[in-house]
């Protein structure tokens, strides 16, 4: 049975007269990797902080694992990697994980077993006794990831986990996300690196001006709106007119017809019409719309934030 691990309704946060989050309504299921996307200042950080219980919502409801956000019971079962993870840099990596494990209430014997495993997992097995102040940004991020999963969380919040990481580090984060999801953990991922989100997430939500403006299952936007390039010869303007019945968005550039389709199922019909109208069809190539294309299209012109 799929269950909801995150369930919010009309969650809102205002600071004085400024509204940071207008309306956050979303549901995320167990084992899902959920991408949370939006431009700077859209309300992403405040949204995450409300879900984590760091910021008190002004209105609306939010349940994590069926319980109100921010309770100790809920916090026992979540993990969090903050953006720009910082910590007492005079601790060594293993001391830091131990400290966070103890804050989670883990027993000492379990911690002793767990710490080397975790450090090994994030690729810091040999650096366990070095003070964190000697770590690079990427290494800090890895320690941060290890502390976020020290309690085997049921929901893992990752705020920009791959910023500052090299390609190997990014791959590691993707693997950890996949591992966590496969053991049933919900991963809530906030990232600007859309390529990473595209590779890791099952579903994405777009937030702008403090409200969710769209949600897509990964890749679903491709079938929702497909761009197709058809290489044709001898195409008449009458034939092109006929295509307007399927979509208004038709352009002929040289010998290539560019169409934007809402229903990809129309494609065979379109080809048939073209052939019947006397056109030669050489190739039909659906164009891939990347998450970045979709993001830019959703968010409109760059406000320069």
């Amino acid at each position: 049975m799929t269950t909801l691990t995150i369930d919010t309704s009309q969650l809102r946060k205002t600071y004085g007269t400024r509204t940071a989050v207008r309306d956050l309504t979303l549901q995320v299921g167990r084992g899902e990797a959920f991408g949370f996307l939006g431009p700077n200042g859209a309300g992403k950080s405040t949204s995450i902080k409300m879900l984590l219980g760091l910021v008190k919502p002004t209105g609306g409801t939010a349940l994590l694992l069926g319980q109100p956000v921010g309770t100790r019971e809920v916090r026992t079962r979540i993990g969090f990697l903050p953006e720009h993870f910082r910590f007492y840099d005079w601790l060594s990596a293993s001391e830091l994980i131990a400290f966070h494990g103890r804050l989670c209430g883990l027993a000492e014997d379990k911690l002793r077993r767990k710490i080397p495993e975790l450090l090994e997992r994030v690729g810091l097995g040999t650096q366990n006794n070095k003070p964190i102040r000697s770590f690079s940004k990427g290494m800090m991020q890895r320690v941060g990831l290890a502390q976020a999963i020290v309690n085997d969380p049921e929901i893992l919040f990752l705020d920009e986990p791959t910023s500052g990481l090299d390609p190997a580090g990014r791959k590691l984060v993707r693997e950890v996300i996949a591992e966590q999801c496969s053991r049933g953990t919900t991963v809530f991922l906030n990232s600007h690196l859309l390529g990473e989100v595209e590779q890791s997430c099952d579903r994405v939500a777009f937030i702008r001006d403090g409200r969710i403006i769209a949600m897509y299952e990964m890749g679903a936007w491709q079938s929702a709106q497909t761009e197709v390039e058809i290489r044709v010869g001898h195409v008449s303007s009458a034939a092109i007119e006929q295509l307007k019945g399927f979509t208004q968005d038709v352009r002929l550039v040289g010998q290539v017809l560019q169409l934007r389709l809402v229903k990809v199922e129309d494609l065979p019909d379109i080809v048939r019409r073209l052939v019947e109208a006397g056109a030669d069809v050489f190739s039909v190539v659906p164009q891939r719309v990347s998450l970045e294309d979709l993001f830019l299209q959703m968010m409109g012109p760059d406000p320069g934030l």
Binding site: L4, Q27, G66, R77, W90, N151, E217
Partner: protein
């Protein structure tokens, strides 16, 4: 599929939201989790964890050791000076003058020590909450299953431990050196130490309270500003007492109520001296007008209250 109450644009047939026909809370409680659950640490464990990490931070960052080293230098200087003074005075002054001079000298050293302790209380703690809030360090901690007030209490306990060691070293050391070299044993040595220790705790609590809402520098400025108010208030009170100006005495008492740090010092100075001494004019060491026991009790409540206030404010605020 659950309905979204807002204008979420869902493409036809695209996102399949997890479906279920049971109420959310019922589902979550019924479900047997495959996860190894742990309960969050208790209040005591959290407090001790934070106390330990705070104390260790001071040690690892060398704050503690440098402060202690400065303290040892301070004591060495005092001990050497006292040695020469005693050698000189034994030859040239009467027994009474000799004792009085020696007590005055020790008191000056105790006063310097109390100022150093107060500064130490403010400077070490002004960055602890505000700095961690500003850097985001607190986010990974406060999202753990701990009560926020325990985080503040733990830090307070850690600093208290450090200040206790510091008071014992500087002030206890001064009293001890004075005793060993001159043979003068203050009638209430432990009370003197306790009062100076309480003074440090008052400042610690005020700084931590300010640190929940203001930046590190502002928090330090708030505490030191209040310390200054108390200092001036103490002088005003003593002048008022000497000149019999009631308004000045009341002003002094009011300043002690706003910040009882100076009152505690004056009580400590009084406790250090033999009963007959202590009326040698208006100095920070004289007991022209000695703060009452009630003021000490007030200061203890004050220290407790500001500590609780810091916990309350930190628990309520957005991080």
């Amino acid at each position: 599929m659950r309905e979204n109450a807002i204008d979420v644009r869902l493409p036809a047939g695209a996102p399949k939201l997890p479906a279920s026909d049971q109420p959310v809370i019922g589902r979550a409680t019924k479900e047997s989790s495959a996860f190894v659950l742990s309960r969050g640490p208790g209040a005591l464990r959290t407090t001790l964890l934070m106390a330990r990490v705070t104390f260790r931070e001071a040690a690892r960052r060398k704050i503690l050791w440098i402060a202690m080293l400065a303290g040892v230098a301070f004591l060495a200087l005092f001990s050497t000076a006292l040695h020469f003074v005693l050698k000189h005075e034994a030859r040239h002054t009467s027994t009474v003058d000799f004792r009085e001079g020696m007590i005055m000298m020790t008191m000056m050293v105790l006063y310097a020590g109390s100022m150093m302790t107060s500064l130490m209380a403010v400077l070490t703690s002004c960055d602890t909450l505000s700095g961690e809030i500003a850097s985001g360090t607190i986010h990974a901690i406060a999202t753990k299953p701990v009560q926020r007030w325990c985080l503040v209490l733990g830090k307070w306990v850690g600093f208290m431990g450090m200040l206790t060691l510091y008071v014992l070293l500087i002030e206890g050391g001064s009293i001890m050196i004075s005793w060993l070299e001159s043979g003068y044993r203050p009638p209430h040595g432990l009370a003197v130490l306790s009062l100076i220790w309480l003074q440090a705790l008052v400042l610690l609590g005020v700084t931590m309270t300010a640190s929940t809402s203001f930046s590190s520098l502002t928090s330090g400025a708030v505490s030191l500003g209040l310390y200054g108010v108390a200092f001036v208030g103490g002088w005003i009170e003593q002048f008022g007492s000497l000149q019999h100006v009631k308004a000045c005495i009341n002003l002094g008492i009011l300043s002690s109520l706003i910040m009882p740090s100076d009152a505690l010092w004056r009580r400590a100075a009084f406790k250090f001296q033999p009963p007959l001494l202590g009326t040698v004019g208006v100095t920070p060491f004289s007991g022209t007008l000695v703060p009452s026991n009630a003021m000490v009790v007030y200061a203890a409540f004050y220290a407790l209250l500001v500590m609780l206030l810091a916990q309350f404010l930190f628990s309520r605020r957005d991080l």
